[in-house]
Symmetry: C2
Subunit: 291 residues, 2 copies
């Protein structure tokens, strides 16, 4: 049994995130990984040397039976359902889009309603349509418009254009593709109806990662044996386990966090839940080793 703490999981100082597990799994070259620099221009290679953490072993190219990773959920599901353990079935896929809806600027006092081409009314209906899109693929789909900018942005001017982001996620790549098609259909339908135009670009695609069925089964069995309330769950965020899943059987164990809050000073998990997570991690490793 080996324990690993992957370098630069978060990507807070060196972008992108999950570099070490990426190099280990062949997602990135070692040269690329070591040459990533922070905002002062210092590279990972230099900084590992400086703190004495560079080490002598090669990164990757080793065979092993399976990897199990433990993590807080970073979401509200386990806490809300009073479950101590989440057996993670996979990491959902992500598609990011940027969209601009265009109409024409006009005077809010002198332009009758039927003569308007109000880009914000169009964008508003699209935001609601994206919400409905996600709800229609319940329970696993999520969709978010997190950024939205209105031009020219004056109280007495009918908006001429609106820019917004779209974040679509689903654990099943087929459904995620379908959601992207539905997004286009929503945009086409709403902008045509209001005589607006639009421009949609996909700017990022991260494919879903399903975890290994035998690893998931070992986690379920470990939770069962430990007497912990558990459920299957999808990871909404990326993890090192997502890289390792490309080269070896991989599984993840979630425990609850207070209010689903993460990446925030208020992030919190109880000692009891963390102990349960560690126990399940141990039992899952042992159960999987005896398969």
């Amino acid at each position: 049994v080996e324990a690993v703490a992957w370098t630069n999981e978060e990507g807070a100082r060196f972008a992108p995130a999950m570099i070490a597990s990426g190099v280990f799994a062949g997602v990135f070259s070692e040269e690329y990984g070591l040459s990533r620099a922070d905002s002062d221009g210092k590279t990972i290679a230099e900084e590992l040397d400086r703190i004495g953490y560079k080490g002598g072993l090669p990164c990757g190219g080793r065979s092993f039976r399976a990897l199990f990773e433990a993590h807080i959920e970073q979401g509200p599901v386990l806490e809300a359902e009073n479950k101590t353990i989440g057996a993670v079935s996979g990491i959902q896929g992500i598609r990011w889009f940027e969209c601009t809806v265009s109409g024409s600027e006009s005077h809010a006092g002198t332009t009758p309603m039927p003569a308007r081409h109000d880009a914000l009314v169009g964008a508003a209906r699209i935001v609601d349509g994206i919400h409905t899109l996600a709800m229609s693929h319940a329970p696993d789909a999520v969709a978010t418009v997190g950024r939205l900018l209105v031009y020219p942005g004056s109280t007495n001017v009918v908006p001429g254009s609106v820019f917004f982001s779209v974040d679509l996620r689903h654990p099943d790549d087929g459904v995620l593709k379908e959601m992207a098609s539905e997004l286009e259909a929503i945009l086409n339908g709403i902008t045509a109806g209001l005589k607006l135009s639009h421009d949609l670009h996909e700017i990022w695609y991260s494919e879903p990662v399903p975890f290994d069925p035998s690893c998931i089964a070992s986690i379920r069995q470990a939770a069962e044996e430990g007497g912990y309330a558990y459920r299957d769950i999808v990871s909404g965020a990326g993890h090192d386990a997502g890289n390792i899943a490309k080269i070896a059987p991989t599984g993840m164990i979630f425990v609850p966090c207070a209010g689903g809050i993460s990446h925030n000073e208020a992030e919190s998990a109880t000692p009891e839940d963390l102990a349960a997570g560690c126990n399940v991690l141990l039992r899952a490793v042992l159960a999987h080793a005896s398969l």
Copy 2:
């Protein structure tokens, strides 16, 4: 017959707009009007002195039979309907509101749809509701959300709060009041349904100004006699005539402008339409004088 060009109609250099007609009509004191300063601190009194335009006659306090003002429409209605003359029935009332809708920020990847309190989904439905509100009071109502700011404004964060402006206008004060009540009902209904909260403030109210029926009749008659296609129309913007209407019978004549565009270098009206407007102004003054 007297002709008047009111000082500071636009308010571009000295705020507020329409100061001279306001002083003439008793809306502002003369001291207030003369003491308005530009962004360099120069007052209207100083600048009128400097350019020799201060004059010796008192501002206001004179009796007269009626005032007629000619203007481009600043909107698209006359052009779209191929009318040369608009007999302005009045200046619409305006209510401005500022609203904040609040939910809670959360992770776009890990927060299931039913667990979200997405302030932008709420604001989007409200924007659409405000559009419907105006359409339900056709043809004279207009309603606009021109500014909208999303916090925190990140692609992968469910919006925690949204600020937006609301501009409601109608020529009838009773209807305008009703529209304001409906706005509150829309906000209450939508935010309650999504478990969001909201905060609505009225920040400006400008009451509607109906023009004098005998002045409107004289303008209609003048257009008729001149053989010009005409229609009654409401002014979406404020005008000096709106101040003068408080102290004397007042009317306004509109002519078309290209594409309804105003306050823009592209503002344009044809010589023929301007001549028609002048002819109607003359005929209306003569017709009203003989009442």
